[in-house]
Symmetry: C2
Subunit: 321 residues, 2 copies
């Protein structure tokens, strides 16, 4: 099997790490990164796209290596000044980060699509890989919670630090959303489709919720392989395990595989979970913790080598359901 | 003559100093500052109002004491990041300053008037004096130049550092502009109207160009007193003297008085220019250089005392103009 073109679906920090691993080992034109935009929101008149920017900053080398998001060495002087005006300033808008939001907002208001805007931004930062928003429409993840009822995603995630108990996750704006031409072409031409180790409900599910997206993915008889974000029942970062428990799932790599169901025909999970029974036709374990930049390239290489080892000319459409 | 309510017309740094002097000696409700908005422009999707902000920062004590504009200790990290995206970044947008532009732009987009926006901003910074834009419409000063033809004001002033030779100054957008209710009321209730030591052509003329403004001023039979921005043929700051020469005026305090003509019935100019023949009914000299905060209060007090000394119940409408 020749894996020429690779598509990877990602959310924020974890997905950006896998994308960066792939970027390190693939010629740029072979890699397309499709990014969740359900976290995007309007804040102080700016269109803020946290996951797209995390991937952008990671691939351009600007990213804050400690947080995994934002720009290294960024300051928050604008935010301090906002607070002097009596604003709460609960969402971190770094001063350097603001340049991205300002350019994006200006170009969007001029009528460019988010796809065009991100393509311009990544090109200007010298990122050669394609970085595609899951859709050009404004789709918003909403979390229903026990304590506060319905919360906008960033209110849930940042303001309340994902501490409220979630009862449901919904995606608003889907009725006007569609898969962009660029995303449809990338999926249509992919020789393998990877699901990053991002939060399935908060990062991957919004991508899958775009009308037409599931059908496009299911129509591709190529490896569709997810990387588990859960290791030994815990999320490497963020609320994935907590959310799974609240939504009635057992927090485990196996439950994530079951959640993806027939969307995937291959699964990679952590070697620490080797004993788990994974309900996917092809599954394997690696050390999936990406602590260093080298770890990212190593894991990306292991995943592609493993997928390359699958039988040639074998239909991949079957799965144990 | 009882000078209860004072209105002062101002542009940027020089006018802000006089406004600050008045603010130091008058109860807040007695002072209204009407500010030029001809310098305002859209920049990276933000509505930037340099003169209003200079007055706002001066009265709130936030102002950079060296430049006389911007916020003390501000940084330019956003601007650096814009440059990393390949943008020229010729207009200084300080990081702390950005909070002002973001709040203003957001509120304007929500449908508030600039008057309402500035009233909210000054109140939040604890500035008790009224700070009124000359109009709520978007009026733009345009400079015709020998070298570059027509230039937007900030392009002329900041990008080209007012070095091109001006052949004319025009104000765009006047056809849709009108004096706001608040400005009309302030002028109507004023017991004295002062013209700040701002550039007559770039800062005061745009205010005077708003349809109805001249008539409102001329209708008031109260002291209307200008403070000269020219001392010994030079501008204290900025291009006033250079512009006067280019536009065919002799750069002098007398020429400024002639320019204001029948709009003023009193004139204050610098004691260094005591020998000048000033064509205004009432004229006097003081040390008009405002180097310290105390200088501002001292000069403001001298001006008001002098105006107070004018004859009671005497019509001020006459002038030698």
């Amino acid at each position: 099997m020749a894996l020429n073109r690779i598509v990877v679906l990602v959310g924020g920090v974890g997905g950006a790490k896998l994308a960066h691993g792939l970027a390190q080992i693939l010629e740029p034109e072979r890699l397309t990164i499709i990014v969740n935009t359900g976290d995007d929101f309007w804040h102080y008149g700016l269109r803020v796209c946290p996951d797209l920017d995390t991937v952008l900053y990671t691939l351009s080398g600007l990213v804050d290596p400690v947080n995994g998001w934002g720009i290294a060495g960024d300051t928050a002087h604008m935010l301090e000044a906002l607070r002097r005006y009596g604003e709460e300033g609960w969402f971190r808008l770094g001063d350097r980060d603001l340049a991205t939001h300002l350019l994006r907002t200006m170009w969007l208001r001029q009528g460019r699509t988010l796809t065009q805007v991100m393509d311009e931004l990544r090109a200007r930062l010298g990122v050669p890989q394609r970085l595609l928003p899951m859709t050009d429409a404004e789709v918003a993840t909403v979390v229903d919670t026990v304590e506060h009822g319905e919360l906008e995603f960033q209110t849930y995630f940042v303001r309340y630090r994902w501490q409220p108990v979630a009862t449901a996750i919904r995606y608003r704006g889907l009725e006007g959303a569609s898969v962009s031409e660029d995303v449809a072409r990338a999926i249509g031409e992919a020789d393998a489709i990877l699901f990053g180790p991002s939060n399935p409900w908060l990062s991957i599910a919004p991508i899958l919720s775009v009308p037409g997206m599931r059908e496009l993915l299911l129509a591709r008889d190529v490896p569709r392989v997810a990387l588990s974000p859960i290791i030994e029942g815990n999320a490497v970062k963020g609320p994935a395990a907590k959310l799974m428990a609240e939504l009635g799932y057992e927090p485990s790599a196996a439950a994530v595989a079951r959640y993806y169901g027939d969307l995937i025909n291959g699964y990679v999970f952590d070697e620490r979970d080797a004993g788990l029974n994974i309900p996917v036709a092809r599954a394997t374990t690696f050390d999936t913790l990406m602590k260093t930049q080298a770890d990212r390239a190593r894991l990306a290489g292991q995943m592609l080598d493993w997928i390359n080892s699958w039988g040639r000319n074998e239909s991949l459409g079957d799965h144990p359901g």
